[in-house]
């Protein structure tokens, strides 16, 4: 990766941005340039215009989606004047769209009001008063019937009381309370009340004609109005459709224009200018440098200067990392990304992760039948999870391979002869294999950790920090001593000296780097040293689960068959099928979690910092048409 500084004339900035976006190899660096003369931030008006136009077009698309994906056939520079004109046109279009939206909302509100009328009708029928009177105001009484938000009722009751009215809450539906307010007509109170009702969000409920006569007739009227509303909504939708069709082509053009204008806006925070000279910095992969310069020479009419240099050690954390592009490794890269992104210079753990994941998954869940089901299910779902289905396919194939080694098909061990052996035939050997695998895994993880630290020039860290060279020396000596203890009955002098020496070196390193009172330092160093021993021992034993789950798989299948044998012929088949589904879903899920845990905790924590950030180059966004 190289740090690139580009000096261009401000007139050429839109063209330069577009060219950088076309090459898709320039990751902007928003830090201010070293030269203090570059203080201005050009293109603010352009950005404001773009953002408003973008927002307007997106809002319009919510009402009237674009009919197709806006393809970019010709790449051209979009000037500020063109953007301004487009923004103004979109402003007018959005005003029309908003009117349509408001009309739709009013129809929704009327529909809601009809529902409330219906509820009120049912409720009015139970009240022992002549409700026909409520519709017509009298000389002595004024009526307000409607609904208010439920939590406003109490306050409103007090307020209408002050205006010499009384409030009767006769029904509550959802968040709304239906109320009748009665008081003296006319006078100052009426104006006061009107103001209070507005503030309280009071919505009038029209009293249906003939309330005191036939309820069936009223229901019919409400139903007719509802049908009319559906028709009105349909008519409005057709009008909106015709309106959208009328301006679709121009909106597509607008979308294309905004796509072309976007790179300059995206780049805006990384651009500084002084007079007519603008400076923009970024990161470019070393292999793309020559191509980028050639493309700029071809595209820019005015002179420019491009400087490239290696990243300095102090800016290593800012350098982006180019992601793994292998199609086969893509799903594994997604899982690695859940933990973090490799820092610049660090080894990308994706290939190692993929291999070790598949090996462990296969060994823990080795079965030809179950593996085939997983692989086929993943293949079947390839359109739904296009970036991840290969993960399931590979996991299934791995499970099938180990199934062949173990001779297991849906738990049956008599159908296929085992190429190696069934795990239950020699559990001790299985445990030994798992232990050996775990030791190899931890050693490789430590070596990678040491390499990663050396790669960024952290020699002391590579030697003394967690899982560094001294830790590895301790681990190897500890294993050697342990092996001798098992074989000849004694730990051995040399392994013991190496263990003590490496632990002592770690303790001294800890001591020198701790800033604390002596008592606290003694305590911390002691605990940390003890922790080193416990961590390596427990991490190694942790890998025993690899064989434990392969044994578990056989044991679960045996349990299913034992249950099935207790049934009749039909019960046997049903139990075997359900048992296999159970094994597949539950055990498969648990094995997946356990392998991820081994990878993240025993592997990544040793060699992968995960605090890098991804290379996201400036590019033209060919957005699909919104759904």
């Amino acid at each position: 990766m190289k740090h690139v500084r580009l000096l261009v004339l401000t007139e050429d900035l839109p063209r330069a941005s577009l060219t950088l976006a076309e090459t898709e190899s320039f990751h902007p660096d928003p830090r201010a340039p070293v030269e203090t003369e570059f203080v201005n931030v050009p293109g603010r008006r352009y950005r404001d215009l773009f953002q408003q136009a973008r927002s307007r077009l997106d809002k319009i698309a919510k009402l009237a989606p674009l009919p197709q994906d806006p393809r970019i056939d010709t790449v051209r520079v979009v000037g500020a004047e063109e953007l301004d004109a487009l923004n103004q046109w979109l402003g007018g279009l959005w005003a029309e769209a908003f009117q349509y939206e408001e009309q739709l909302r009013h129809l929704d509100e009327e529909d809601r009001s009809l529902k409330e009328q219906e509820s009120a009708l049912a409720n009015f029928a139970n009240l022992n008063i002549d409700l026909g009177m409520l519709r017509t105001k009298t000389r002595f009484l004024d009526f307000y019937i409607g609904s208010v938000p439920r939590e406003n009722v109490r306050q409103l009751e007090g307020a209408v009381g002050l205006a010499k009215h009384i409030l009767f809450n006769y029904m509550i539906t959802g968040d709304h309370a239906h109320v009748i307010i009665v008081g003296q007509p006319g006078g100052a109170e009426k104006a006061q009340l009107s103001s209070v009702l507005t503030a309280a969000g009071f919505q009038h409920l029209p009293i249906p004609q003939g309330l005191d006569s036939e309820p069936q007739e009223l229901r019919r009227q409400i139903e007719e109005r509802r049908k009319a509303l559906i028709e009105e909504r349909g008519t409005l939708r057709r009008r909106i459709g015709a309106w959208a069709e009328g301006n679709a082509e121009r909106r597509l053009d607008a979308e294309r224009t905004l796509i072309l204008a976007e790179p300059f806006v995206t780049l805006d925070p990384s651009i500084r200018s002084a007079g007519h000279l603008a400076c923009l910095c970024g990161w470019v992969p070393a292999r793309d440098l020559a191509k980028l310069e050639a493309r700029l020479r071809q595209a820019l009419a005015l002179p420019f200067q491009m400087d490239a240099r290696k990243p300095r050690s102090d800016e290593r954390a800012l350098v982006p990392t180019v992601a793994t592009k292998s199609r086969l490794l893509e799903p594994f890269a997604l899982l690695v990304k859940q933990y973090g992104i490799p820092q610049y210079g660090e080894i990308d753990p994706t290939p190692l992760f993929a291999v070790t994941f598949l090996l462990m998954f296969g060994m823990m869940f080795g079965d030809v039948g179950h593996g085939a089901v997983i692989a086929l299910a993943a293949w079947w779902a390839r359109r739904r999870i296009p970036h991840f289905y290969l993960f399931g396919v590979f996991a299934g194939i791995s499970s099938m391979c180990f199934g062949l080694l173990f001779g297991s098909v849906f738990g049956y061990e008599e159908i296929l002869p085992a190429l190696w052996m069934s795990p239950l035939h020699d559990p001790i050997l299985m445990l030994k294999v798992a232990l050996g695998w775990g030791i190899a895994f931890i050693i490789v993880a430590c070596l990678l950790g040491i390499y990663n630290r050396l790669a960024i020039g952290n020699t002391v860290g590579a030697l003394f920090e967690h899982h560094g060279a001294v830790n590895l020396l301790f681990y190897l000596a500890f294993l050697w001593g342990g092996y001798r203890l098992a074989q000849v009955g004694s730990f051995g002098t040399l392994p013991a000296l190496l263990v003590i020496g490496s632990l002592f070196a770690l303790a001294v390193f800890q001591w020198r780097h701790l800033q604390a009172p002596t008592g606290e330092k003694v305590l911390v160093v002691l605990i940390e040293t003890l922790d080193t021993v416990i961590v390596y021992l427990s991490n190694t034993l942790s890998f025993l689960r690899v064989s434990a789950f392969s044994l578990n798989h056989v044991a679960l299948s045996l349990a299913v068959f034992t249950l099935a044998d207790m049934m009749g012929a039909f019960g046997h088949v049903v139990t075997v099928i359900l048992g296999n589904v159970f094994v597949l879903v539950l055990e498969g899920g648990i094995v997946m979690i356990q392998v991820m845990r081994l990878q993240y905790y025993e592997g990544f924590s040793r060699y992968f910092s995960g605090d890098g950030h991804a290379f996201t180059p400036l590019q033209l966004r060919r957005r699909p048409a919104p759904l």
């Binding site: 307007r56 109170e189 503030a199």
Partner: protein, 354 residues
């Protein structure tokens, strides 16, 4: 962290932070300092140097002080339980509502986007509204429609209906304020432990103060009717409960209202002839109550909220001092603004009680 440990941690945090509050007489001492001295003491020098215009300097200082207050709030909120955190966050949400009012006024008076943006507070994510969406709204109606989609749906719907019927911002802003204080009162009712009494006392005092100020303003400055005034008030759980407010809004003069107030408010406000005096006395009263809770209560959340109320008031005073220097106002005006001197306003320039 257990509840007891969280309370102990929170109380210790509050106690440590409360050493930052002004000591008696410190504000008077600060009022004598020059702008560079003031800026150096409170780390405002960089903010002032970065800006060119006086207005921009003032905005930067105000923004910096609000950021400081909200960063302290974030630290205090960390060990709190869900109910406690909801209360302090709801209190701080007034800054988001200031922004909302700015947006509404900006859209209503068709102000330039740049001008609106310059007047918005930059708030942390746990307090702010979804500005970008709201900022892109082209008119008040669209703004309120967008707000209806979020957690402020009830405020927005009520405000939109008020706006559609009246078309002016007063009803809208009054609805926003009323909902804010009603929300605080509702959150206090969620407490069922030892925190209930001190929290109810503190928020009750806050509501009492707000109710008296609104009552005086709406009844005697805006000349609203008793029913209109009452609807905008939020009954307090302390002194000014619902029945008392119903009595107070029906009175015709400020003197009658003050006489009818329950003790100690009647004694406190005796002799006040206008809204400014009422506000000043209530401010001292609120400060004294917050200090009492900060010093004597064992409730972590009540102490934290009391600290934040006091801190906010003092940061406002600091802002007034800075602003006074920036605008080159006479010292006596600045001292009136920060409450060091009693206001002497010429007759006719203030809202006098009828």
């Amino acid at each position: 962290m257990s509840q007891a440990a969280a309370q102990a941690y929170l109380n210790t945090r509050v106690s440590m932070m409360s050493t930052r509050l002004f000591q008696p007489g410190q504000l008077a001492e600060l009022a004598q300092l020059s702008l560079p001295e003031l800026a150096e003491r409170y780390g405002l020098a960089a903010l002032l140097d970065e800006q060119v215009t006086t207005r921009a300097k003032g905005r930067a200082v105000e923004q910096g002080l609000i950021r400081l207050l909200l960063s302290e709030l974030t630290i205090l909120a960390r060990p709190m339980s869900t109910t406690e955190r909801a209360l302090v966050m709801a209190w701080a949400r007034k800054y988001a509502l200031f922004n909302l009012k700015t947006l509404i006024r900006g859209k209503l008076y068709d102000l330039d986007q740049k001008e609106i943006r310059e007047n918005l507070y930059d708030l942390p994510p746990n307090v702010r509204l979804s500005h970008q969406e709201l900022f892109r709204a082209e008119n008040v109606l669209e703004l309120l429609r967008q707000l209806e989609q979020g957690p402020h749906a009830l405020i927005a719907r009520q405000a939109r209906e008020a706006y559609e019927q009246r078309g002016e911002p007063f009803a809208l802003e009054a609805a926003i304020d009323q909902r804010y204080y009603a929300g605080l009162a509702r959150l206090v009712r969620q407490f069922h432990d030892a925190n209930l009494q001190p929290v109810r006392h503190l928020v009750g005092t806050l509501l009492d103060r707000e109710d008296i100020q609104c009552l005086v303003r709406f009844r005697f400055s805006y000349r609203l009717s008793p029913s209109e005034t009452f609807y905008q008030l939020v009954p307090s759980s302390r002194l000014l409960h619902r029945e008392r407010l119903l009595e107070l809004v029906n009175l015709e003069t400020l003197e009658q209202v003050i006489e009818a107030l329950p003790p100690p408010l009647n004694a406190l406000l005796a002799g006040c002839g206008n809204l400014i005096e009422v506000q000043q006395h209530l401010h001292h009263y609120m400060t004294a109550e917050a200090r009492r809770i900060l010093g004597q209560s064992s409730s972590g959340v009540a102490r934290a909220l009391a600290y934040l109320i006091l801190r906010e008031s003092q940061l406002r005073s600091l802002f007034s001092l800075t602003q006074g220097h920036l605008l080159e106002l006479p010292v006596q005006f600045v001292e009136i603004a920060v409450g060091l001197t009693d206001p002497i306003c010429p007759v006719g320039t203030m809202a006098k009680a009828a």
